[in-house]
Amino acid sequence: MNGVHDMGGMHGMGPIETETKEPVFHTRWEARAFALTLAMGAWRKWNIDASRHARELIPAAEYLRMSYYEKWIAGLVELSIEHGLVTREEIDNGAPSVGSPKAVPPLTADKVAKTLAKGGPASRDVAIAPRFQVGQRVRARNIHPAGHTRLPRYARGKLGAIDRDHGVHVFPDTNAHFLGENPQHVYSVRFAARELWGKQAAPHDAVYIDLWDDHLDPA
């Protein structure tokens, strides 16, 4: 979707503000919001692409106003309702509905270290031929899907070259909508900075973007 989250190349966002000795979490609610999101993910009712899309669906003005973990909480609430783990009434009341069953959490404290160490690889061990070879010239498709895509607007229609092949990965553009993992090759594609931004860019600079077979055409 052409949302405000797709902000590569935008102007007007202000200066970059850094902090010295920045804590991992600034407040306890940030820490709890982070942990709740990971712990609820363990139900495997959704996937990381759907999580990202849930945050992209936050209305643009709200998205820009909200802090990072506030977006996480907003996304988590919507996903939890959508996938039937809670009801909106329960969220509003802050308590389980009368007669709602008590579940057993899939992620318990003893499983945390192992679960984090294992992670959730996006690679898939399937023999799928790459559509492109390293060095090949490609053009990013000029697509504007209303749903989730990992092809940023600033690269659409632009010419690049395959820099490396990362192998076969889940395709987020379909996976986010539960339309299948659609595994395919993902590549690091090199775009000359001047191809993306014109003469204002330095002549030898480049931007490398990870894109999938379905984002690219031969050029």
Binding site: D6, E17, T18, A35, S67, P121, H204, V207, Y208
Partner: protein, 206 residues
């Protein structure tokens, strides 16, 4: 909270009433615990992991090892996921790692313009500025200006490569080893390596 440039502007990215969010998140947690959907002890363990165990010291050890061990460096640049796993750094948001090397003629910078993807297994959780709209919007169109804001002025003949983390591949910048550091041990070198250098917004200095 102290900041470099704008001592009172931190709330720019946190401009919400904290008490409101404290209450909302508390209410959500108690609901999810009461429904048996989450284990509060698991939440504590998740937080403890990223507050105390997984952070940029991991990445610094990888970098220092690469500086002192040419064979390791080669493995890191060929298959970063496996090389980093040799030091036992694996897992969430580090499943597919790529290391990119800075040289006197090449500077790498990492961003995620679409969200805030970051290599947790080697750097921990990202700082606020990395997740902020100013950094995400500008790193790709004006990397040299961004670097200047971080106090790093690069000569024109240095090629700048920006890595936009749009997939599940996570990038670690292998900074240049500082000059005159030959006598330092691997451990002393690791102590010099900063998070910012491994994102690409700083150099490592003695």
């Amino acid at each position: 909270m102290e900041t470099h440039h704008h001592p009172h502007d931190h709330d720019h990215d946190h401009q919400v009433v904290p008490s409101d969010l404290t209450l909302r998140v508390k209410a959500l947690e108690s609901l999810l615990v009461e429904k048996g959907l989450v284990d509060p002890a698991a939440l504590d363990a998740l937080i403890d992991t990223y507050e105390h165990k997984v952070g940029p010291r991991n990445g610094a050890r990888v970098v220092a090892r690469a500086w002192v061990d040419p064979a390791y460096k080669q493995r890191l640049l060929t298959d970063a996921t496996a090389a980093i796993a040799e030091l036992d750094y694996t897992g969430r948001q580090g499943e597919h790692m790529v290391a990119v090397e800075n040289t006197p003629k090449l500077h790498n910078l990492v961003v995620c313009t679409l969200c805030s993807c970051y290599p947790w297994s080697v750097l921990g959780l990202p700082p606020v500025w990395y997740k902020s709209s100013p950094y995400r919007s500008r790193a790709v169109i004006d990397p040299r200006g961004v670097l200047r804001e971080f106090g790093l002025e690069l000569p024109e003949d240095v090629e700048v490569r920006v890595w936009d983390s749009t997939a599940e591949v996570r990038y670690l910048v292998l900074p240049e080893r500082p000059a005159a550091s030959e006598s330092l041990s691997e451990e002393a070198l690791a102590a010099l390596v900063t998070r910012d250098a491994m994102i690409g917004v700083a150099k490592v200095t003695l």
